[in-house]
Symmetry: C2
Subunit: 344 residues, 2 copies
DNA sequence: TTGTATGCGTTATCAA
DNA sequence: TTGATAACGCATACAA
């Protein structure tokens, strides 16, 4: 029985490995992190000793000694919103094979909460930070600028990046969906929006630009609420919109929860889709193509955003900063049955 | 300019605070963790020094010195499945006000992956571990038993807990939904199941028990696949089931993605719900009550499971182990339009 | 209630 | 290529 130290739980340490392999502790450390800088004979001995003892490095000690934790700090506004769940999944999938852990924070769409979490994250000296959106508070932005690690802003692209960016244009996405509806003949197209965070605002701006270009814009067509999005809210907003504008012949929804709510309400009220009302959504959840009628939506590359953000951060960590610091992954308008009708 | 140490990034340390406050470092340490054990005068001075310097404790150094990281390790099989996203949200919400961080791991429904992640997590000496399900591999179970921290198994309850448990009976939930459908007059009730993880299996067992009790069980009524669940898969499974058993008059779906797929397919194929086909789901996603027709489902307390798991772990950490080591949070059958029809 | 000495497990530094 | 030494920043043990 090897003697147990006073406080440790008796787990083998790097010294135990060194002793068993007959080398210095620092050589073990190197063999683990930069195998190519250790002679093959020693490396083999060390590997044997490691597996014999079942040695696992202590990440805390490692972080303390190297002044750098192998942690990616990730800040998202919601954990349950499928969009961010997919982003987070992309991040985890890209990180699972390496040494990096993930530190996830839920800002609840609050800038102050983001500041607070940033401070907590920073205290660990993370290897990289991934934050959602481009509208950080001045304080949060300062934290990020002084962070001494790669920073990736995700979901959107825009001018004046803190460091790196991966996303797409919400304005363009909103514009494309709206322009499509106009193109196929809808005229009184309402905008339904919940939460109205900065990205929702830009989708609305895209909608408005398209409507104004066609001289169809009417403020009464816009129905928004700061309330968090949900399917039931989609139903409610639609009812409001219809009450306000009985001649409504289409809706562009801020996201697919809302569009699903609209679809169900149309069924319930026997409103024909796409004949009487056309529906476009945003994000293109899996179910939109299965719905009946299938729902037109703007497909957003959320999983890919997570992967790309990690790839860029990893590159920056390893010294080779990506040539492109801002990556626009685009979107794709998926035209489906809910907006398929003869031009009128 | 205070002299910067060789490696540190120049952040103030506990010694800096101690010097400024004119006390020993250990007193600062105590003032931060156990304020009541430090005299009020010193405490005030220390607090002033802390905020003046902008001191934030280094969690890595703290973990190293105390042989205990303020981290909750959380293992879930999926990040995007709304059920687990809600559980995770409950966990984060319960932990956001304290010193604990969350270390999240995605096992992808793989026992081996769970073992691997457990080893990674354990290397940090977490304050507590929360794992999904009660069917850990023998190796994973051994890791957990030797973990030297509170362990909570979530989602299900069952005999032989490793330590603590929070969940509900999936068998009972499946039984209740099926019994309800039988009760209101459905006879040829199919079971649709995807993924078929252990919890799905137990829902199936509940279905089978109810069907057998009514002498309605027929193996041809059961349609399952190991493929991950999705709305489109619900549609496909339903088509298969209908092809196999044309007399089908109802389906109990393993989860609400599937039931939504069934609902849409019924719309598309002009199959009347609930008259021709009755539908029951599982989990009761928000949208089920908005769907048309609204869908009967078994409501599961997933957010609450996350909160309760954290509460129990916190209690155990602070020495006061909960009197009840296994908590059954139950479920609730929500009867809606999709199974509302006169008895036949 | 407060402080001193020491150790936590690892890596950076510098020399061999 | 390898190793001895000294941090890293904090908490434990023990003494005052």
């Amino acid at each position: 029985m090897r003697p147990r130290s006073r406080r440790g739980g008796g787990r083998p340490t790097i010294s135990d490995v060194a002793r068993l392999a007959g080398v210095g502790a620092i050589t073990v450390s190197r063999a683990l992190r930069q195998p190519e800088r250790v002679s093959e004979s020693l490396r083999t001995q060390i590997e044997r000793a490691v597996s014999e003892l079942g040695y696992v490095p202590d990440p805390n000690a490692r972080a303390l000694a190297s002044a750098r934790a192998e942690v990616f700090g990730v800040l998202v506004p919601s954990l349950t919103n499928n969009v961010f769940a997919e982003v987070v999944r992309g991040i985890y999938d890209s990180l699972s094979d390496g040494p990096f852990r993930v530190q996830l924070g839920n800002t609840h769409y609050s800038g102050l909460e983001e500041e607070r979490l940033l401070q907590v994250f920073l205290s660990q000296r993370p290897a990289a930070l991934i934050v959602s959106g481009i509208d950080q508070t001045p304080t949060a932005r300062r934290f990020l600028e002084e962070a001494d690690c790669p920073v990736v802003q995700i979901m959107e692209t825009g001018p004046d990046p803190i460091d790196m960016m991966v996303g797409f244009s919400h304005f363009d996405g909103g514009h494309a969906a709206t322009a499509h509806m106009i193109e196929v003949g809808y005229r009184r197209i309402g905008f339904l929006g919940a939460r109205m965070d900065p990205r929702s605002q830009r989708r609305l701006a895209g909608y408005r630009a398209a409507m104004e270009a066609a001289e169809l814009y009417d403020p009464r067509l816009v129905t928004t609420t700061p309330v968090p999005s949900s399917v039931s809210l989609g139903r409610d907003l639609f009812r409001h919109a219809l009450a306000k504008v009985p001649t409504l012949d289409g809706v562009f929804c801020n996201n697919d929860d809302l569009s699903l709510g609209v679809l169900f309400e149309c069924h319930r009220a026997s409103i024909e889709v796409p004949q009487t009302i056309g529906i476009s959504g945003f994000n293109d959840l899996d179910m939109m193509q299965v719905a009946f009628p299938s729902v037109t939506s703007v497909r957003t590359p959320r999983y890919e955003i997570g992967r790309q953000a990690v790839a860029m951060a990893k590159a920056a960590i390893s010294g080779t900063r990506p040539e492109l610091l801002t990556v626009d992954l685009g979107y794709e308008l998926k035209v489906r049955e809910s907006t398929t009708r003869p031009k009128s």
